[in-house]
């Protein structure tokens, strides 16, 4: 287990990016690049990360970035890797794709599925702020039930897609979830992924002050609550074997979990939820955990 002193001092993102104050994604990106180092090539589709990267003529990171149209992240990463293989550099350089939840669960799912199925040796990180934040908070396939967005003023119908499970179904060597509130856990996972051959998928919850409706100072707190209430489960699936990550392991016991209301009440986007919907949430969280528990038990056999 790394401690905070083990994190490299080197920063790969220049200060003064255009990300919003308190942006969860900016933290995730910072941690990921620290773990992967500068022998990396990054591809980014249209997303908040495009905003972070700023304007023409300059690069906001100390690592080259290839911006690509919304639907193409998985394909662009495949193209970069194919060219590195062509040039005999694929063993030296890590290919990192970094996309939002809309670019991953909706418009980019086809290209990502293709890249995963082909066994592409790359890391795909989805930072999930649970809506199209860059275009003004429209609902995505990753928006949770009941959330108010600009296209769901009545609250969103249905739960978010379980994207890590979809990627698991591609039989790839590594699938994991993460959150910037537990930076060492996230750092270690990127470090580990770097040395695994094949497609690696990260699904990282990314609290978003303007989109979720909370003060920028609360990003870390809200992320912790997501984990502590059991809404966001940190785990890894390595070659099909699921393992709870340390920050989440104690919440396998339902009595340890904080009530979901504590998470929901911190954000304006949940403000109109009914008691009935909150009850649905409780069932949903419970079922996610039962599923995890069942899997862990079956692995023991």
């Amino acid at each position: 287990m790394v401690n905070v002193m083990d994190l490299p001092e080197e920063e790969y993102i220049y200060p003064g990016t255009r990300a919003c104050a308190g942006c969860g994604m900016a933290l995730i990106y910072r941690i990921a690049l620290k773990a992967l180092g500068n022998k990396t090539l990054i591809t980014v589709p249209a997303s908040c990360l495009t905003v972070l990267h700023g304007m023409q003529g300059f690069c906001s990171t100390k690592i080259s970035v290839y911006h690509t149209p919304f639907a193409t992240t998985g394909a662009a990463a495949s193209g970069i890797l194919a060219s590195l293989e062509d040039k005999g550099l694929a063993d030296e350089i890590t290919v990192l794709a970094f996309a939002g939840d809309g670019g991953t669960t909706d418009i980019g799912i086809q290209a990502l599925s293709g890249a995963a199925e082909r066994g592409t040796n790359f890391i795909y990180a989805c930072y999930d702020n649970e809506a199209y934040m860059n275009t003004g908070v429209q609902r995505s396939g990753s928006t949770p039930l009941g959330v108010k967005t600009t296209t769901t003023p009545e609250g969103k119908y249905g739960h978010k897609k379980n994207m890590p499970k979809i990627l698991e179904a591609h039989n790839i060597p590594y699938v994991t979830t993460g959150i910037a509130s537990y930076p060492l856990d996230l750092y270690e996972k990127f470090k580990k992924a770097k040395d695994i051959y094949g497609p690696k998928y990260f699904h990282i919850l990314s609290p978003c002050p303007p989109g979720w409706g909370y003060e920028p100072k609360d990003t870390i707190l809200i992320g912790r609550l997501a984990v502590q209430t059991g809404f966001w489960i940190l785990y890894e699936v390595e070659n099909g074997i699921l393992k709870l990550s340390k920050p989440s392991s104690r919440y396998l016991d339902p009595t340890k979990r904080k009530p979901i209301e504590e998470y929901l009440k911190t954000q304006k986007r949940f403000s109109q939820m009914t008691q009935q919907e909150i009850q649905v949430y409780k069932t949903y969280i419970n079922e996610m955990w039962i599923d995890i528990e069942r899997r862990i038990k079956s692995q023991e056999i």
Binding site: Q56, F58, S64, P69, T72, G79, I80, S83, D86, A111
Partner: protein
Amino acid sequence: MTVTEDNKMDIRDDIMILTGNHAAAHAFRQAKVGVVSAYPITPQSPVVEKIAEFIADGKLNARFVKVESEHSALAVCCAASATGSRVGTATSAHGLELMYEMLPWASGNRLPIIINLATRSLGAPWSVWTDHQDFITIRDVGWIQFMCETNQEIYDNNIQAFKIAEDPRVYLPVINAYDGYILSHTLMPVKLEKQKDVDDFLPPITHHINLSDISQIKGIDPVTTPHIVIREEGTAPGYYEYRFSLQKALENSINVIKEVHDDFAIRFGRSYGNGIYKAVETDDTDTIIFAMGSVASQSRIALKKFRSEGLKIGLVSLRLFRPYPSEELREFFKTKKNIIVFDRDIGYGYEGVLSYELKAALYGLNKRPNIKGFIVGLGGRDVKTEHIITGVRRALNDFEQGIFTNKTEFLGLRLDELRDYDESTYFKNG
């Protein structure tokens, strides 16, 4: 006589009997492409099947990314090109249309990617047969666009296309088109050049982006504002300046296209007119047919018929469609009197695209030739010599009577055979 794979021409070792698709694949092999990415579509698929076979047999050392859509195919090509490899693909019709979003991405980034396009009509209704609608529809995205007439030209032009695309004065993507089935699936003798000679002509790519050199940190295609960005580290152009440079690169590419064509002709002994268009029997006449691809090929036969009847008609077969060679065409047509244009495409709601673009190009001439356009052969309807002859006669008759119109005339329509045809119920009943 049926020509089969076993029935290769024995005249010279290096002449093979190839389909247009396989001619393109052989050119990719000899150009030593580094990355190919493609998705199956009729009538293109044999290009990439052959490439897969070359790679499996160790005859080509390339990465073939077998993607889940054409949109991804061109996205892979763009990223691989930006990373520094020589890159190409092939597609048709709906595949090209699905790539559409990535086409201006490639040209805007000035990525020297080659697409082989086995032309095919666009649905609906479904059709797998040729016309030039797919080729025409993408004319405004900033690619260099060629149309070939023979399988040898497909091979030759692919090798030239890489050289043109990768020229530092150009850095642009190229579409190399040929008629689906008529060329894509038809066997013709094709001379393949010696690998050493191809290598001499086409050295390895030097890429202006080359992300694989990680010592150079680059942000490719961030948000580009309408303004010039000025910072301590330097200035960066606005979107407007980027697009101006794309237009300039296209305009400047005409000279490079001619230069590469002429160099190829000297080295390999084959030329295609002036590299821009092919003029056939035009010296002794002022009446010219203007067409491209399969329509130009069919027109060559019509020329012979006309000549046998004592009527001198010439042909200009357009090879370079984008950048549009308006200066070259103005120069050629300034002494001509009558032009009959045959389009295997249509700018729906207007007229054939070759027709209206030629009219626009010749507008500035002191003595403007008469021009009349016809639509032929959409969706693979046979373009027959008699259609060309009918068109020429009708046009000359119209010119004589001073009739000029943009109203489209379709040759080879067979409405009279549709005895029970009722348009109002036809579409309802599908």
